[in-house]
Symmetry: C2
Subunit: 110 residues, 2 copies
DNA sequence: CACAATTACTACGACAGGTAAAGTACTTTT
DNA sequence: AAAAGTACTTTACCTGTCGTAGTAATTGTG
């Protein structure tokens, strides 16, 4: 299993990636993360919703209410231009991070 | 620069990697991290020493005093078999993590 | 020879992000 | 009628990082 401390710095990025494909809401994003990672990473509900708050406070996403006439009302999110810029930065940072951490990793499958 | 939240889950692993090559102490490890990462990652002193305490509490490293007759007395560390096992685990986890995060990253250098 | 810089730590307190636990509320399936 | 699924919110806690500051010795510089 992937420990949360490892992926910690990338939860926001993961959410933004999924919002690139269009507006979405908590539960759907949660399911998409699970699917895309093939069950290898499951973001906890509280982590997800606190990430939404942080991202919105930073101006990286915007929220609005869906117009469902039944069911619990959903809060939808869309990515902002600032959010896109942040996502791009994170992608670049990731390439660097991968490279750096790789230098401290050995391969044992020999 | 690499943000600390990203590398957070790997500070312990980085230290263990350097201890694989032999006993060492804080200042030396700190310099080795800087060198090996080509200045791309510099571990803060407090982070480093608190990592030592954590690793020792977990039985992953052992400390002992050097026999310097002058200068400030160094605390040396060596990796334990448990520490080695933990390091191996982390290496495997890293391969998985890399794979998972990559699914949420786009390449913009096109 | 004085002072700065470097080496080698330790202590303290603040903060951010993740998480367990519990609760709310509505719909669909059994 | 109950359980399971959808869709969140609130609270309180824990861990790891880090800014700040202090201690103590050695080495380099003007």
């Amino acid at each position: 299993m992937i420990s949360s401390d490892v992926i910690r710095g990338y939860n926001d990025t993961i959410i933004l990636y999924l919002l690139l494909e269009g507006e979405s809401y908590g539960y759907e994003i949660s399911k998409n993360i699970k699917e895309l990672s093939e069950e290898k990473y499951i973001m906890k509900e509280t982590t997800l919703y606190s990430a939404f708050n942080r991202l919105e406070a930073n101006g990286f996403i915007e929220s609005f209410f869906g117009d469902e006439t039944f069911g619990k009302r959903r809060t939808y999110y869309r990515i902002t231009p600032t959010g896109l810029a942040y996502y791009k930065e994170k992608c670049e940072e990731w390439e660097l991070t991968k490279d750096v951490i790789n230098r401290f990793i050995k391969e044992w499958n020999v």
